[in-house]
Symmetry: C2
Subunit: 175 residues, 2 copies
């Protein structure tokens, strides 16, 4: 399993309301989507461009992933992703180069927004897990950053450029 | 289970190639999406605006649907949908007012494109089924046609208007 770092607990109760929570990782947000339940079963829903911040140009689904294997382990330069595990469960680790967190996705109502230049990996899949990922861009192999040290350097440069331009940066580490 | 009508068989073999097949129901297409498989499991993918004909503004997921229950049973005036059963299986029935077909969706690689003004229903869900639906529009209760006779009249009027405008219509019924 990759890395250590803080573990963010995921727990919520029923209801139709959408909830969006920031996390300790820059730009990463945890979504709790509405649930509509009746005698015909359950339905959860997300709208793109409104409650979800981008309109997807691509989706992919991973399934039959061995519990011992790790998927992801890269960042994207421009592409944002929204991950939701619609059956079974898996863990998503996110890392902005300064902070790291992991989330257990075990309900179709839960989703994680992963912005560009955040490293992500998925692991600890249950045998029946199905992960659906919405991506803001079409597939482009040039958009992938697969080397972690290159990612850390790039994330640092992006933060420095943001600071110089007066954009809000992450809270500095204490000490 | 709704209606009778012809049953279109779904069967395909592996491979990375996207295949799109017309069906007997006007505008309904059956998609067989690419598969990428390695030691880390399986991945299937679709791109919107290229291989899939619209960019979604909404998704919803239905799950824990009792096998005896029927979902859908309506048409949309403007909204197109793409349905893929990513776990377990369910049957999708589609009806353009003249022709009817049903498809068993039992693989994340299979999808059904349902254009506006096609009646659709989903049933015979397995206990573990998870159906993901991409919709071309945000939710609008005015877009639903929930009365079948109203739908048949509307579909007929749409065909007549299309014929008057020289648009290609469906093949007339023999006799």
């Amino acid at each position: 399993m990759p890395g250590g770092g803080p573990v963010s607990e995921v727990a919520f109760t029923g209801g139709r309301q959408l909830a969006v929570e920031p996390t300790t990782v820059e730009g990463v947000q945890l979504y709790r989507l509405p649930l509509y339940e009746d005698h015909r079963g359950k339905l959860t829903v997300g709208e793109f461009g409104t409650c979800l911040p981008f309109v997807p140009l691509r989706y992919f689904i991973t399934y039959q992933v061995p519990g011992s294997d790790v998927r992801g382990e890269h960042a994207h330069r421009e592409c944002a992703q929204f991950l939701t595990c619609v059956k079974g469960a898996c863990t998503v680790m996110v890392d902005d180069g300064l902070h790291r967190a992991q989330f257990r996705l075990d309900d179709p109502r839960l989703g994680v927004l992963v912005p560009p230049m955040v490293w992500a990996a998925e692991y600890d899949h249950t045998d029946d897990s199905v992960l659906v990922v919405f991506a803001s861009h079409h597939y482009d192999p040039q958009d992938y950053v697969r080397d972690y040290l290159e990612f850390v350097r790039g994330a640092s440069e992006r933060r420095s450029a943001g600071s110089r331009q007066g954009a809000p940066g992450p809270t500095p580490e204490p000490g």
